[in-house]
Symmetry: C2
Subunit: 479 residues, 2 copies
């Protein structure tokens, strides 16, 4: 097969040496590692079609990979499979300021879309924390979010069209530049499908006008409940901030000690709220929000006086992950979404679980859209702590499902949350997922073992619930 | 089979008398009629499951039906099939003002959701012209829009979760109340699938806060091009009006003569623009829009001074269809969407086709989202006019595809536009549609012959392009 690849790919586009393959053994969920048989780095869509045709004919599994920043193990290789890296397809093919779209290749970095669009007064809204490094193709695979998705939506809400190559090598266009498109809507189906249906080779992204005015505010609370009520009050008033983030006391301390953003270290929780729009709207809404937050029990509401202070408010939030990295040997970032009204009760449940598992937790998250990111602190050097952290994480996700939420907000399921899929969905639903997967990839070669568990796995998981967090690789089932 | 239905359905829920069946022979695309074998009117989800199980076992096709207001023939019965009417599932199950959702049965009328939500200061945004009569289930099947979908999106953007019953009778939940959901995103896939994948039995809809302030304005232009430029200028300025409608001179005259809305009868085109939001925002944006429209060449920009005048501006637009009904014996309402920048050139092309086919056209449409609704005027009593109107309509849709648009905006494909699907999609894409359809309904029993053409039909259509408008029913192929 490698010989076949080398007929149309230069030698430096086909990696087979174990040393070089090791770079690809995991994504950002580095607890799981597996060395693939081979990595290919095509430069063109035609090469991708040819690679997939060869793998299809030879029944070889293919795992697509962007920048490898994914947090759920979606790009974890398969031992006897090929990793298809899209890292060399990095062209921004077109920016049309009139249609307000960007047409890009999948290996384009998220942030560079906004950087290039800026000259037209436009930007691309989804902004995951990893936006300096992560790619549009990976964002589409995982339906990535970011701090601004409350107002501007997830990746699925910002993709207008896709070109994809099927496992058989066919090039298909989904969606279009108009508001609606005919036929079955396979665009959203593809977004978030974790490389299991087809390979994205081009994306048409929606661009938005850069906001003319912004205002950032910080509110402190004595209890997490009051902060949760503050979030509910803003949303109930019909205001959709550009961003509405929450941080609990361990998060505040970690960030403040690291960045000196000026956060109140003693507060039980803070909210960071960003408004954008035309000045009249932003000023009126920021006054209304300040009143709502005080009514909800805020002990302090601070408006950033200028851009510098606003950036300092955000700096703490943006540095949350490295800040937590300073206080814990290791941490495990979870990602679940709940209806907003359950924020306080779910945070309380997480505290109880934290006591039960004897592991600390820091909560820094997208409160406005109910997207939790508990960071579970552990030390891999202490025997049993990783396992406890994983099990604890699984319990948090199951709590999210119990209150009507879901096991993922923006990181995807990958290999990390595959057991929790058994909690979220019943067997008729899982069977339907398999049928749709089968409609695209009947041989089950695209990213096998990810995102949708087999019914057998769910039956086993049901039987051995207490071991939920832990998967051992030899048992990885083919999708 | 009818005996089996009568075991669990009361006699008045199973219609078999030809007289009574005739009521169901067509939807609002009344040029196509077909009498089904039987109509069933279940009251519960369990009954729907049982009906589908029976039909599945007996290989009997099933066509779902809401209020029958669809414009593309999506609810056209199959001669040897069952019509499954959802008309009796009319309960609003829940309004949760905190989560801002409504949970409804599929037979609930579109407008009644907003009527009930009003007491909580909320509304349901998609508002098709038929909103007094059409049902949520039908809206989901066709992915309906309305005058406000520019700002608030189509049905697909306003549905959070669905419960559906598969052809085999399984009940499946798609989506959820949280921002994201795990697994393959089948929610958008189901929306707009025209009853071909599963039967919607419950929908969770997004509710929005009623706007606190509104402003409606009217601008007149000497040329259609200038009006098109006005639309582009507003969007380019980053303003998203709640509604932005355009009407050409024949439309202005028809509406003015009927409703006396105060439209300038001599204008080549008018724009109606509605802004909503907080007062500061609405006032600032309406000033900006007035300036932009004058710059684009508006001969007159009128701000509605009060609610009554604003309602009068809208009254003409809302009465456009009956107004055209007064000036023509029959009309054929088309529905295609194009990238906004092509509005002027596509309208010009429609005028050329109008001369070629010797049939008048009135254009009244959602300019903001590029969703055209040319009304082709004809007289069914004049031999050949219906056929010419249908062929003319097909040419308009193909023009939409040529400029990068699509053959549907909000009315669906149904039976009406099935040939144009061959123009919009290539065979790899159509094959993928069939594979996904097959993943839900392997026997092809749900709404056969609609929305997605067989490859054979496309081959034939390609070969006999000039006869495009006309389909004869005996040749209707099974999906």
């Amino acid at each position: 097969m490698i010989e076949k690849f080398l007929k149309f790919l230069p030698a430096n586009s086909v990696i087979t040496a174990e040393e070089a393959l090791r770079v690809y053994e995991c994504d950002a969920l580095s607890a799981y590692r597996q060395i693939p048989a081979c990595v290919v780095l095509p430069d063109t869509v035609e090469q991708i079609q040819e690679i997939l045709q060869i793998c299809h004919a030879a029944d070889v599994p293919v795992v697509a990979r962007g920048a490898g920043t994914g947090l759920s193990g979606g790009a974890l290789p398969v031992t006897d499979g090929v990793v298809l890296s899209l890292a060399r397809l990095t062209r921004i093919l077109e920016i049309d300021p009139e249609l307000r779209i960007a047409r890009v290749e999948p290996g384009v970095r998220n942030l560079s879309v906004s950087e290039v669009a800026k000259q037209y007064g436009l930007f691309y809204a989804p902004d995951p924390s990893s936006q300096v490094a992560c790619t549009i193709g990976g964002n589409i695979a995982e339906n990535s979010g970011g701090v601004h998705c409350l107002k501007y939506g997830l990746t699925v809400h910002n993709v207008m069209a896709l070109k994809v190559v099927t496992m058989e090598g066919d090039l298909i266009k989904l969606g279009g530049e108009a508001l609606d498109s005919a036929g079955l809507d396979m665009l959203a189906l593809m977004t978030g499908s974790e490389g299991m249906l087809a390979i994205v080779v081009e994306a048409t992204l929606k661009l938005l006008p850069l906001p003319v005015h912004q205002k950032i505010m910080l509110a402190a609370f004595d209890t997490v409940e009051e902060a949760g009520n503050g979030v509910a009050a803003i949303i109930a008033a019909g205001i959709i901030p550009a961003g509405l983030e929450m941080m609990d006391n361990p998060g505040i301390r970690a960030c403040e000690d690291f960045v000196h953003a000026g956060y109140p270290r003693e507060a039980a929780a803070i909210l960071l709220c960003e408004l954008d729009g035309i000045p009249e709207e932003v000023e009126a809404e920021s006054q209304e929000i300040a009143d709502l937050l005080r009514d909800a029990g805020a002990t302090e509401v601070r408006m950033a006086r200028d851009k510098a202070e606003g950036e300092r408010f955000w700096a703490g939030r943006k540095a949350a992950f490295p800040a937590v990295g300073r206080i814990a040997a290791d941490y495990y970032c979870m990602d679940g979404t709940i209806p907003r009204k359950h924020i306080a009760s779910v945070l309380q449940r997480i505290r109880e679980l934290s006591a039960e598992y004897k592991l600390g937790v820091v909560n820094v998250f997208h409160a406005g859209d109910g997207n939790l990111h508990p960071l579970i602190l552990y030390d891999v050097a202490v025997p049993g702590e990783l396992e406890r952290a994983e099990e604890f994480g699984g319990r948090i996700l199951e709590t999210c499902v119990e209150v009507g939420g879901t096991i993922t907000g923006e990181h995807g399921v990958g290999i990390e949350k595959i057991n929790q899929m058994c909690v979220q969905f019943n067997s008729a639903e899982l069977t339907q997922f398999h049928a749709v997967k089968n409609a695209f990839d009947p041989k089950g070669l695209l990213n096998p073992g990810k995102a949708v568990p087999t019914l057998r796995r769910c039956a086993e998981y049901g039987a051995m619930h207490v071991h939920s967090g832990k998967l051992s690789f030899p048992e990885l089932e083919r999708f």
